[in-house]
Amino acid sequence: MSTLNWGERELAYDVSGFVSGKGHFVDDIKLPGMLHMTVLRSPYARARIVSLKGGMSSKDLKARMASVGEGASSEAGLSIEPVFATEFVNYVGEPVAAVFAEDRYKSADLLESIEVDYEPMKPVVTIDDALSMGPIHLGRKNNIMAETIKGADFKDPDSPIVIEDTLENERISANPIEPRGIVASFSEGMLNVWISTQAVHSIKEGLVESLRNSELLIHVMQTDTGGGFGSKGGLYPEYVIAAFASMKFGKPVKWIETRREHLSSTHPGRGMRGKVKLFAEKDGKITGLRGEVMIDAGAYDSGIASFSPGFVAMQMTGPYFIESAQVRGKALFTNKVPQGPYRGAGRPEASFLIERMVDMLADELKMDPADLRLMNMSEKPFTSPMGLKIDGARPFFESAVKELGYMTEVKNSKGVGLSFFVLVPAVYPGESARIIIRDGRVRVWLGGNSHGQGHEVFVKKLVNEELGVPERLVTLYRGDTGMTKTGVGSWGSRSAIVGGAAIVAVCRKIKEDVVKIHGRYSTESLLSGSYDEFINNELKMPLNSFGANLATVEIGKMGNVRIKKCVAFYDVGRALNPDMVIGQIQGGMAQGIGQTLHEGLFYNDEGQLITSSISDAGVPLAEDLPNFTVKIAENRSSLPHGAKGLGESPTIGVPTALIRAIEKASGKRLRRTPVTPEELIS
C-alpha cells in the first residue's frame, strides 16, 4: 500500500480495520524507488574495530544519539551512544554499518560485502563485573554512569527488629508483536518520516539533534503502532541512519527490525539489584528504611539508563508511611544494550523491593502480611522522605483486603500472596491537543500517540461530553508533527490523564470561540462553523493510583507453577471506558506473570546474548495464563475528567503478589525474577 494514497480514513486510528487486515503499519508502506536498509551489528560485547571496509558507517556519519523521550538524560558526556560504532563496539547488536538495496533479500545479501576486523576485549557483563573491573569507556574513572541519593540521612532507629536482603529483577525485552520500523523519505527539501512510535515529537526532536541540522524541515507521522510498552518511546540509531541515508541517496529508505534485532538492540527494561534494610518495632511498625539500588544500565547513557536509579529510589517506601528513609542509587556501565523503559519503568522494581521486604518482615514477626501492611498505612496524605506526595492510603487498602477475598483465601490456601502499591503516573509536563472543526466534523490530534490503548475511545467520549457532538462525528488521527506544534508522548500511565485533560482544555477554548461569535454555545453553531485550536496543556500536579493484587498458586512436582487465581483491585479514577480499562489491566497482568515466571534476557560470560527468540525471551502463551479477575474502584482524580493512571498498575502489583504466593506454596525464600522451576524443587 502506498502512503501516497493515504487519505483521511487511512490516517485515523481505527480498530475495526485490524480484523480484516486493513491496518496501516510501517512495513506496509511502499514508495517508488524505496531502498531497504539492513544493519551490520557487532558480534562482540566489547572489541576494538581494527578495520572496517564497505557499507555506510561512522566514516560517512559520525554522529551521536540525542537523548529524548521518557526519562531523557540531561547530561551529555562521554557515554552517549554513537549512531554508528566508532573505534570500539560495546554491546552485541550495536550498529556498525548499514547497506541498502531495492528489496530486503538483496539488502541482506549485501551484508557480506562489509569486512570488519575486531580485536575482542574482556567485557563487563554483570553488575559485579561493573563494580570490580576497569571502566568500559576511555576517559572514565570507573563504571558508574550516574549516582544519586534520595532522602535525608538519619540515625539508625533504636528498633529491635532489623532485616536486610538483596533482591533482583532480570532484564526483560518489551517484545511488542510488531517490531520497530521506520520509512524516511527526503524529497524537495523535506524529510518525511513514517514510524512505529509512542511519541512523534521525540522522534522529530531527536533526529534534528542527532543530525545536527536545526534548519532541517522534518515531518514525522505515526503509523499504526503494534504495541510498544515503553520500547518505542525514544530515538534509536537506525532511525538516524535511515534519515541520513534518505537525504544522501535522495530516495525513500525503509528499515524494519527483525525479532533477533529487537532482543539484541532495542532497550530492555528492569535489570535491577537492590539491597534493603528495614527497621521495625515488635508490633510491626516500620521505623526506617535504608537501601541501595543498582541498575544494569548497559553500554551507553541512552533510554532511561541514568534516570533509573533515582526513579526507583524515589518510590521505595511504596504507599507506606515510613518516617525515615534514604536510598542510594547507581547506574552501572555494562557491555550490553542500553537499558530503557518497559511498562512501569522503575515502578515495578521499587515495588518489588519494598513488598518483598514487608513479606519477610511479616514472616519474621509471624504477623499476617495484610495486617502488617495496613498498620504501616496513613489515613491522611503525607510526603515520603524521598519527597513523593502520597494520598491517605488506609481506607482504600482496607477495602482492598475485602474486595480481593483475602481472608477466605488465607483460610483455604497455603500458596497465597498479596501486594499493595501506589502508582505515580508521569503527569509532568502535560500534553498537547489540537481540534479542527470543519464540514460538520471534529478532527482531533494528540501530542502523545496510542500504540494499542485505544485513545480514540476516550477522546470521542470527552469531546461528546464537552461539546455535545455525537461520537460518530469525532475522529482521532495518528500522531503527526505537522498537526501539533509540540507534544510529549504516551508512557508512564499518562495518556488518559494528560491527553484527556488536554482534550477537555482545548474543547473549552473552542467553546469560548463559539460564544464570542454567537453569544451562546450550541453544538449546531459549533458544527456549522470553522474552528481550529491547539493547546499545550501543562500539568504538574502529583497523582496517585492505589492498587492491590492477590494470587494463589500450586506447585507441581517438577517445580511448575499453576496459577489458580490472579485478582486485581485498582483505583482507576473515573473509568472513561470500563471495557478498555479492564482490557488494559488484563494485558498488564499477563506481563506481570511473564516477568515473575518466564521472561528474561540472558547473556553468557562473554556478553553474548543467549536468548535468541521471542519464545526464549519468555513472552507468555495463552495456555500459560489463567483467567484474571479484575475489580475497579472509581475514585475520581482532581482533574475535570476525573481520570487516573492504570496502564502500569498490573506490572507493578502482579509480580509481588505472585512471587509471595509461590514462596508460601514452595517454602523457599524467593529473591529474584524470573523464578525458575529448578529453584523451587532444589
Binding site: 480484523v19 487486515g21 533479500y105 510488531e178 503502532t225 504495541g227 525479532r259 519464545s615 495463552a622
Partner: protein, 167 residues
Amino acid sequence: MGTMKIKTTINGKKVEAEVEPRKLLVHFLREDLNLTGTHVGCDTSNCGACTVLVNGKAVKSCTMLAVQANGKEIVTIEGLSKNDELGPLQKAFLEKHGLQCGYCTSGMILTSFWLLKKNRNPSEEEIRKGLSGNLCRCTGYQSIVESVKYGAELMKEKEEEREVAVR
C-alpha cells in the same frame, strides 16, 4: 537470481507469478500481492502473526516458500470478509475486544478459524491450547478466548440460517 513460475489460488482468485525460489510466502503475499494484512512478528516461527490458511489448514507463512504454494489454495485475512461484510470471527473479535494494537489479530483470527473448523464447540482449555502458536502481547488472551467462544456461536447461527434458507 532466477525465478520460478507458480500458479496458486489466493482468496478465491487464480494467481500466476514469477518468484525467486528463496522468497518466503509471507513476503510474496505482502510485497508482490499487497496483501499487507498478513504480518511478520518474529524470525523463528513462534509468534504466528503471519498465519494464513493453506488448503484449509492454518500455516505460518514465514515457514513456507512462495514456490511451495504452487497448486495450493491460500486464504489470508483479507479473504475472510465478503464484499466488505465481516465474517463471524472478525465480528466477534471486534465486539469482545479481542485486540488492542491489532498486529497479532490477523493470525489469531485465522488460527481460530481453523480451530473452529476442527472443533465447533471448543472448551476454554482447548482454545488456549489451540492458540499456543500465536502470541499476543497486549490483551493477556482472556478477551481473545472470549472472542473465539463468541465467534463459535456466531458461526453456528450462520450455519443454521443457511440450513433454514436451503429448506
